[in-house]
Amino acid sequence: MELLEEFELHPVFNLPKIFGVDLSITKAVIVMWVAVALTSVLVIYAGRKRGLVVGGLKGGVEAILEFIRNEIVIENIGREGLVWYPFITALFFFILFNNLLGLLPGSFTPTSNINTTATLAIIVFLSVIVQGMIKKGPIKYWLKLVPKGVPAFLGPFLFIIEFVSLLAKPLSLAVRLFANMFAGHVVLGAFLGLIFFFGSYFVAPAPLLITVALRLLEVMFSAIQAYIFAMLSSMYIGAAIHDEH
């Protein structure tokens, strides 16, 4: 199907297989490198030296950093969660740049591939478990999954249910980001495809204008999805630190 051609990955630079894993460089890898470079350059540049008056790009990035610090990290994890502030910031900017770079013509959106989002979600999942085990003790953390005051015979069943819901968190995190990006680009492609479907000069401007509007909407969704990913990650980490029950 032509609509899905955009999401196919072809090696740009071939590398040999190591233990059966294909390590070839694809478009997605290059875009991710650019995203990593932009993230580090921007954040290091903005956080390097604090003058009294900041303006322009530096002020803008600083405003975003303040927002992440106060509204996402402290709000959801608390003051002791400031250890996670760099991690959440990196997640936010990495996803944001991946989404935005994918909107450039001829580019590729790494986040529209489930492998990327699943990797990010698994990193968050492991952080949640490790943070919980550090905070509450390696065995107590698993026991605390079952709420207090539950009859003893229900304990094992509730443990299984809570365990499954723990596993469902990274799954929904991965699928949400992937499906949003994938669906957004498919919709863009479908509207552009209408031009070829009708094949008339009179109809062509309408899908083009709709695509421009949708692309602007997609810029907004890129930011919102990055924000939601960062916020949900910090919420899960916060839930591992605090006692919900």
């Binding site: 199907m1 929904s172 949003n180 919102i224």
Partner: protein
């Protein structure tokens, strides 16, 4: 009826039902948000942010259905 025809029908029905539920949810959400803003205009910023987050959550459910229907439609 061939199995691919059934897959196409299933994809259409899945997407349609998901859109129905999502439309109801987002309509309800936006209506309530407007109501809240009208009652308390000074809280409009907080309400807007919360609404956008909730919209993304609701939308995600429709997008799960979209992925499923896409898999169904491109299976054949």
């Amino acid at each position: 009826m061939s199995s691919s025809a059934l897959a196409y029908i299933g994809a259409g029905i899945a997407m349609g039902l998901a859109a129905l539920g999502t439309a109801w949810g987002i309509g309800h959400l936006a209506g309530r948000a407007v109501e809240g803003t009208a009652r308390q205009p000074e809280a409009s910023g907080v309400i807007r942010t919360t609404m956008l987050i909730a919209t993304a959550f609701i939308e995600a459910i429709a997008l799960y259905a979209f992925v499923v229907s896409f898999l169904l439609a491109t299976k054949s």
